[in-house]
Amino acid sequence: QKEVEQDPGPLSVPEGAIVSLNCTYSNSAFQYFMWYRQYSRKGPELLMYTYSSGNKEDGRFTAQVDKSSKYISLFIRDSQPSDSATYLCAMATTSGTYKYIFGTGTRLKVLA
């Protein structure tokens, strides 16, 4: 079993829809949770960076962490065609370490 599981998709939604992207994990020591967006032939771009449990909002993006269920989510409101990309979750254990453990990514297509 992988440490981080992520549905590869593709996930297709109409423009304006609310998108929910999810990752599950097995390592209870993870404390840092990141979401990256990766466009084709580009590097991952950091979207959200959260520590421990709870919610974090940034514009149309909301990240949620549920450590009791070992489950994290990224919500995209009012989705746009420009949101079409692969979304990668990443996780890390507590300060002093440095390795990010990545999910395989979910391909999202927002249809105009």
Binding site: K2, V4, Q6, P8, Q31, Y32, M34, Y36, R41, K42, G43, P44, E45, L46, Y49, Y51, L88, A90, A92, T93, T94, S95, G96, T97, Y98, K99, Y100, I101, F102, G103, T104, G105
Partner: protein, 115 residues
């Protein structure tokens, strides 16, 4: 530039040749990471540099892979005697300092194809 810069953006070479991939981190960032992204796989950690400390090479898949970082800035990842399974996108990231409290910022990668 403002971001992490990697070169070349694409590299095609024959099996058995050596290749060098370059990474120029964000100015002022002391930590530098190399990852490998294969089709359908998540990013795989390769190596980590932090300041003048000894690098963590625990992710390097074989002794054909090596990396160095000169002057605490630019890094070079070298793959000797390339094999077809080395075909992947090699991504470099940097952070302000080491440790997971500082987010990693990525370059656009080098797409390596071994014929």
């Amino acid at each position: 530039g403002a971001g992490v810069s990697q070169s070349p953006s694409n590299k095609v070479t024959e099996k058995g040749k050596d290749v060098e991939l370059r990474c120029d981190p964000i100015s002022g960032h002391t930590a530098l990471y190399w990852y490998r992204q294969s089709l359908g796989q998540g990013l795989e950690f390769l190596i980590y540099f932090q300041g003048n400390s000894a690098p963590d090479k625990s992710g390097l898949p074989s002794d054909r892979f090596s990396a160095e970082r000169t002057g605490g800035s630019v890094s070079t990842l070298t793959i000797q005697r390339t094999q077809q399974e080395d075909s992947a996108v090699y991504l470099c990231a940097s952070s302000l300092k080491g440790g997971t409290e500082q987010p990693q910022h990525f370059g656009d990668g080098t797409r390596l194809s071994i014929l």
